[in-house]
């Protein structure tokens, strides 16, 4: 590899890291009141109106920007199926690390049985300072070199402190192993989402799409 090309590559990665840092500042916060450029909207697969209405959430993850668009979630539960078949080799709604079923029927006055179709998959935010990890008495939740939080099953005693501590109760005690289990950002849920309601946009794509809006 020539030096010039190597330099370019490093520049590119630096830019991506800067983009990620920028988005981290608003991870999970409402975007209402902001305008989003056309190139970013097309990347997120949403419209400005959906951003304004609060239907879209963005979450910063180590591998990309996680976009959840509840206007597009049709409740098929394939995210939960793919999560568990890939990670557990069995199929379950309860153990899934992405959670739609609990929102599908009835969620705070919304859902299938509340006469509207407002539901969405809850996802792990891979918090920089994870409440789950902080709460674990056995320090069984650790971050890998990319910042993805994992459960060390050897240390986990299945006490459920992480489940309680997480504001969104995303970790789950697996009913059979009696160990905590949580999202490790494998991406199976988003890859299998049949309406693109759940997607992970890689940082290089976000970085590239963010460029044209820069003033310089």
């Amino acid at each position: 590899m020539s030096e010039v090309k190597k330099e370019n590559k490093i520049d590119k990665l630096l830019n991506q890291e800067m983009t990620r840092r920028k988005f981290m500042k608003i991870s999970g916060k409402s975007l209402a009141g902001l305008t989003v450029s056309a190139s970013l909207l097309s990347l997120f697969g949403c419209t400005q109106e959906q951003v304004d209405s609060g239907a879209v959430s963005l979450w910063t993850t180590p591998t990309g920007l996680l976009v959840v668009n509840q206007a597009k979630c049709t409740g098929c539960q394939r995210c939960e199926i793919n999560c568990t078949v890939v990670n557990d080799g069995m199929v379950s709604s309860h153990t899934s690390r992405v959670k739609i079923t609990r929102n599908l029927m009835s969620n705070n006055g919304h859902g299938t049985y509340q006469d509207d179709w407002v539901y969405y998959p809850d996802t792990c935010r891979q918090c920089d300072v994870p409440a789950c990890g902080e709460a674990c008495p056995k320090e069984a939740i650790y971050a890998d070199d990319k910042g993805v939080k994992h459960v060390d099953e050897a240390k986990c005693v299945g006490c459920g402190a992480c489940v309680e501590a997480c504001p969104w109760h995303m970790p789950t005690i697996h009913p059979e192993t009696r160990k905590s289990t949580k999202c490790i950002l494998c991406g199976a849920c988003a890859e299998g989402c049949v309406t693109g309601a759940l997607s992970i946009v890689p940082w290089d794509a976000v970085t590239a799409a963010a460029q044209p809006t820069r003033k310089n």
Binding site: C46, T47, E49, Q50, V51, D52, S53, G54, A55, V56, Q70, A71, K72, T74, G75, C76, Q77, R78, I81, N82, T84, V85, V86, D88, G89, M90, V91, S92, S93, H94, T95, T101, R102, N103, L104, M105, S106, N107, G111, T112, Y113, Q114, D115, D116, W117, V118, P175, E176, E191, G192, C193, V194, T195, G196, S199
Partner: protein, 706 residues
């Protein structure tokens, strides 16, 4: 030993004694699941002279090994029971989608046997292995929407619910059960639950289903999603030209109707454009089905919020509407449905409809009102027969003759004439609450003809669409699938619900293309040109058998017959050929046993013959019949007499020929291994399928063919 695919237990609840027990599913393994378990339990445990509303009557709700394992389009369950409304009062099944079948399997059950009768209204609560019978007096009389909502609120947001409405409670034969707002199981199951004073059930399942080869399962699923699956009804070309596609359906009457510029105007945050959905793009498959547009044209987009459907299914065939013109009439505006309720309510308005806000919106608004009403009251429409009976009897003046004058005058006919959506709601209420003589429409066509003395010739009226004299209409019959379609239409004790052939005929693909694919499979002459059919031949008999037994497979597995089998594919690289081995591949990955297509066919044939044997015994008991060919499989006259300008076999007609259809029946019975004179399975066939005990039974009753 670990069981893969099956949850392992069947729940048995007796509402007379309150006993709740479980038993090993594996004792039914020869029958796989769903209706297979259903037929076996009904045959073994319910004497076929039992009245469906008696204490001895049972409902067998069951899923198969593929449901809940993540196999796409597997979010279904079957309910098997004795019919209260058809000639012979034999076995029927209802099929229900939604999300509750998955929940039941995660809770650890492959099925529930509902037996006995409660004194007071109750519901069944299933919270994993904690199962209880709960008081439902506060729910009795309530519509399904409210009852399901209350049940989920009372029990917890991770529960799902299914209930019957007032129609079932009041023992209206034409009644159903509803889950997930608008997913219905029909065929009269509502009243059977009602007779047991069971409002419904709630489930929470926190367990998991074991899969023998998860990696293999994921691979087969992804392969299906990338290469095989099409749109709704597995139509394999889009309705509107898409840039990647070679073909589209010029008429647009094809169910892959999501297209650029079409979508949901009432979506949260504004219009969602369904765009193009190229083969291989998994994240766009959900935009292929746009049933709203298929049913109601462009006006549907204006009121659509989203699409929906069953667990695990990428084809979202439910159109979910917020039809605000209904608010003007104090009617609910939220409607979610895919089937007859959202298509066929204008038949309640024999004098026509008037548009509401935009040109061409009358049918949509009326269907919205009607769908919501029938689903809330839990009224089943027998694939449109109830509407057609009403419409015809009104137009012919018979209805006025049959109704007492006072009752006639109490009906808001002005609403009907004005096209007011409250009219359909009013009539649905009267039928569901058994109010007055008009509610006899809820008996079902067969008993209505008896009750009002309408005569056998009533079934011969073309408009009414009755395919036999047994009380149910055709369901994608000869008009799509020539003799083959008509053959499987007359095999059941309800409308046939077989979609094998209509799915490729209506796919939008060029005729020559699918003909070649199907003829490779079934032989030359298997497939006729649209609206230009040819005399019966052996290949068509094989095709009919494939479709007939295949439908039973889907209700055993349990898979959606609107989607399976994957006969065609949208992929040019595959030459548009689907994969008929797919179901076996799923069985292998899920169960860890080596399944082939022949294995699938064998169990399908076994369960199909159980249906036939049970039907023969019921017809013997109730009709004194010893011949199904003559007493069950009789085709109504209009099928042969319609379209007087055409001769059978002429280009442009599907008018059938009497002699040719008798040839067709004979060939079909031969393919099935049934006696050609009586249409009853021979001992040889039953022995081959492991049903020797049924042959013995037939013999003891004097029904076994010589």
């Amino acid at each position: 030993m670990t069981i893969y695919g099956w949850a392992g237990k069947i729940l048995r609840v007796n509402f007379t004694t309150g006993s709740i027990t479980t038993e090993d599913t594996m004792k039914y393994k020869d029958y796989i699941g769903g209706i297979g378990i259903g037929y076996k339990v009904i045959y073994d445990e319910v004497p076929l002279d039992t009245h469906p509303y008696d204490e001895a009557s049972k409902i067998v709700l069951a899923m198969g090994p593929l449901t809940g394992t993540g196999v796409p389009c597997s979010g279904r369950l079957s309910m098997t029971f004795l019919s209260s409304w058809t000639k012979g009062f034999s076995v029927v099944d209802a099929h229900m989608g939604g999300h509750i079948s998955h929940a039941l399997k995660y809770a650890g059950y492959d099925g529930i046997i509902f037996e006995g009768k409660s004194e007071t209204p109750v519901y069944l609560k299933i919270d994993d292995d904690k199962v209880s019978i709960e008081d439902a007096s506060h729910l009795w009389g309530k519509g399904t929407f409210e009852a399901n909502r209350i049940l989920v609120e009372e029990n917890g947001s991770d529960f799902d619910a299914a209930t019957i409405g007032p129609a079932g409670e009041n023992l209206v034969n034409m009644s159903c059960m509803i889950t997930s707002v608008g997913n219905a199981g029909g065929a009269g199951v509502g009243a059977i639950f009602g007779s047991k004073k069971v409002k419904g059930f709630v489930v929470r399942g926190t367990g998991s289903l074991k899969v023998a080869d998860p990696k293999g399962l994921k691979e087969v699923s992804d392969y299906m999603l990338r290469e095989l699956v099409g749109g709704n009804n597995n139509h394999n070309v889009p309705a509107v030209p898409q840039s990647w596609a070679e073909y589209s359906a010029p008429s647009g009457k094809n169910r892959w109707s999501g297209a650029p510029g079409r979508g949901w105007h009432k979506a949260e945050g504004g219009f969602v454009d369904m765009g193009e959905q190229p083969v291989g793009d998994i994240d766009k498959i959900g935009y292929r089905a746009h049933k709203g547009h298929f049913d109601h044209g462009p006006i549907a987009d204006k009121y659509m919020v989203k699409v929906g459907g069953c667990s695990s299914c990428p084809i979202r065939c439910y159109a979910q509407y917020d039809i605000d013109p209904l608010a003007e009439y104090d009617l609910p505006t939220k409607v979610s449905n895919t089937c007859m309720p959202i298509i066929y309510q204008s038949a309640w308005y024999p004098e026509g409809l008037t548009d509401f806000v935009d040109e061409g919106d009358a049918n949509l608004v009326i269907c919205g009102a009607g769908a919501r009403a029938v689903d809330d009251y839990g009224l089943w429409d027998n694939y449109g027969n109830i509407q057609r009976d009403f419409n015809y009897l009104y137009r012919s003046g018979i209805l006025k003759e049959k109704l007492p004058e006072e009752e006639w005058n109490s009906i808001p006919w002005h609403w009907m004439k004005e096209g007011d959506p409250r009219f359909v709601v009013d009539i649905v209420r009267r039928i569901s609450l058994k109010e007055g003589e008009i509610s006899k429409l809820g008996l079902g066509t067969y008993l209505l003809v008896e009750e009002w003395d309408l005569g056998k010739e009533y079934f011969d009226i073309e408009y009414l669409q009755n395919v036999t004299y047994n009380g149910y209409p055709k369901h994608h019959s000869s008009e799509d699938a020539w003799q083959s379609g008509l053959l499987y239409n007359i095999m059941y004790n309800r409308d046939c619900m077989v979609h094998h052939i209509t799915n490729f005929v209506q796919s939008g693909s060029p005729y020559e293309l699918y003909k070649k694919i199907l003829e490779e499979e079934f032989g030359e002459g298997a497939v006729d040109k649209p609206k230009h059919y040819t005399p019966m031949n052996r290949a068509k008999a094989r095709l009919a058998k494939w479709a007939f037994i295949g439908k039973q497979w889907h209700d055993m597995a349990t898979l959606c017959n609107w989607m399976y089998p994957m006969t065609l594919s949208p992929s040019k690289e595959r030459g548009y050929k689907g994969d008929l081995e797919l179901d076996a591949k799923y069985m292998t990955a899920v169960t860890g046993e080596n399944w082939t297509r022949e294995d699938v066919d064998l169990v399908s044939e076994r369960v199909t013959n159980m249906l036939r044997v049970i039907t023969a015994i019921s017809f013997h008991i109730h009709e004194g019949s010893t011949n199904l060919r003559e007493d069950h499989d009789t085709i109504t006259a209009w099928v042969f007499d319609k379209e007087p300008d055409f001769e059978p076999f002429e280009a442009g007609t599907v008018k059938m020929d009497r002699e040719d259809m008798e040839v067709a029946k004979t060939m079909f019975y031969e393919e099935m291994g049934w006696d050609v004179k009586t249409g009853i399975p021979t001992r040889e066939t039953l022995e081959r399928l492991g049903l020797g005990y049924m042959a013995d039974d037939l013999e003891a009753r004097g029904l076994l063919p010589a």
